[in-house]
Amino acid sequence: MSLTADSTRSLADRVAATTPAPMMRRVRGLSDRSLAWLFIAPVMVLLLAINIFPLIWTIRLSFTNYKSNLPNAALRWIGLANYNDILTDDDIWARMQTTAHFVIWTIVLQVLLGFGLAFLINKKFRGHAFWTTAILLPMMLSPAVVGNFWTFLFQPQIGLFNYVVSFFTGIDPHSFQMIGDVRLAPWTIVLVDTWMWTPYVMLICLAGLRSIPEDIYEAAEVDRASAWRQFWTITVPMVLPFLMLAVLFRGIENFKMFDMVNLLTSGGPGSTTELASITLKREAFEKWRTGYSSAFAIILFVTIFGAANVYVKALKRVKQR
């Protein structure tokens, strides 16, 4: 049973006819703008309640000594002391360096590998669909699962990883440990994140590659442009906005990375892989320094928000070219 234009019109008329006169008068009195506000009001209220209010509350707490495990303790207004403590703490700066190392290297590797894979997958070949699916599998897994099974793979006595390295290099598989070694552990988390998220970058790049009209390449062929020139003057510039988008997503995501790294190394050995988010979790939910961790959260938020804003402006400029 389908509704025709006539029948819907008559239905609307019937609804209008049955609307009580006082309500009709009230609705008729509302402007389009008021109606628009009326419709978006519930969403706005929800946003205020679950996003804006907690943010304002966090900002407020960041100026206090509040500890949520001592709810009855006197709340003291301590001004900028938390911010001062954080910004002058060598340990915090070390954690920020660790985070920067992780973010930069994962982005570099994922962009290079993701773009390379997308470029290869974009070519038509036998088994193309199968390989695409196979490459995408890691990003479909839960970070908790990835963290756990890589822990087993990296186990120096029974883990597969050491045996594979040993097979190709001849190094004794028991002679090194990825997670337990202070020099290798930071690269271990980069490696696992790259394994997991390169397919995501590949997918975005693939969308970019597929959006390039074929006739541009055909025109280039007519002009006898070499494959190398076509790559640098057509492919790269046209995929660049997509690539930059992938960098933005991965940058934000990895700046606040917690689950996978926490399961893989717990921030160790020592604090070698302790990312800012792990420190934040420890301060907030293990030490219960709510005021301090609120200040730290605000600093991280401002950092990432500022960096993302600058980046989005650059992205817009690239798109406009």
Partner: protein
Amino acid sequence: MKKTVFAAGCAFGVALAALAVPCAPAHAQGKSLTLCWAAWDPANALVELGKDFTAKTGIEMKYEFVPWTSYADRFVNELNSHGTLCDVIIGDSQWIGGSAENGHYVKLNDFFDKEHISMDAFIPATVVGYSEWPKNTPNYWALPAMADAVGWTYRKDWFARPELRAEFKQKYGRELEPPKTWDELLQVSKFFSGREIDGKKVYGSYIFTERGSEGITMGVTNALYVYGFEYDDPKKPYHMQGFVNSPGAVKGLEVYKELYKCCQPPGLTNAYMQEGLDAFKSGQVAMQMNWFAFFPGLYKDPNVGGDKIGFFVNPAGPAGDYTQLGGQGISVVSYSKNRDAALQYIKWFAQPAVQQKWWDLGGYSALKAVVEAPGFLKSAPFAPDFLKSMAMVKDFWAEPLYVDLLLDMQKRVHDYVVADQGTAQQALDLLVKDWVKVFKDEGKATQ
């Protein structure tokens, strides 16, 4: 039609109400009780023991057991949020200060007086460690429930091998025996480390290295205490300079690191109880540091238990005999809606016959009547070492802010021992600085 639906709805509602009526008072009378603890071997013994309580009182026992790695997080949050999940809780010894001061636990003095439960009937260290806050005052917030301490297991069968004994004697001029001092522990660990036994490469000893919760602290303190580490000046509370970072403490930390470097199986850089049990059961290590709570299970293990396993107390050091206190007391949560039934459980649990059965099932009773009974020392091969250990225990801070203190120590020790950052002296100096800050924030004088 509408009337029929209405009538059916009413009938359903009445039926529901009729079903609900008998249930409501049953719950209100506390016919079920939830006990919260960690998920480990003794918890299974407690479930078994609890059947007697249900049979006697008709109160159904429910259990909320959480793995050790999230035990503190889960239950401290539960208490802080004034949750009603747990009626009775077996909380860690370090929680006692915070739980008492924040009103999470019911004070049990009046109840003990009324029921004639005397704290003199329990091992003194367990009363101080699990029940009292402030320490060494007669203010009781828990009944000692599970006595525990760090002890060691060793491969008795390997130690008994004539060729190994001969080689050891030739090398060190003494018999290959369970170590009595930390120097001997290092020596024996190095002797076994890297050796091939039954076609497998083995390692000297397993020690705690876990970073996230409490692992490495619960391990390293066994070396620190015996080399002279003190939490603070006995005459000047919270004055830590020169005690936490004394020359003896520095030496203790260096020895722990040496043991880790020479003799820990590879990959165990973030390992606690379970990893130790796995390493021992799979024949990777000659000796293992772990809690006494696991020893009944290890003794029953078909591969490494029975005649193959031996036990010894934490070796001594220049400052004497000490070991890390573990274990927990049982408390009534003040937010429980079943307080009377919870107290009834405590009363039942304190009975000597129940405590005896608790020990028989694999739990560790702290009741003197059980551990000082004539047959106790012969009741299990680890019983003498357990009793000896309980007389030399020392505990971590039990302050309300113990988590801050613990996490600071976790970081400083792990950074030095596992991540090779700085020297032992620097690690302990930084620890003093961290702890001074925590106590200052709490308003306690540290200088």
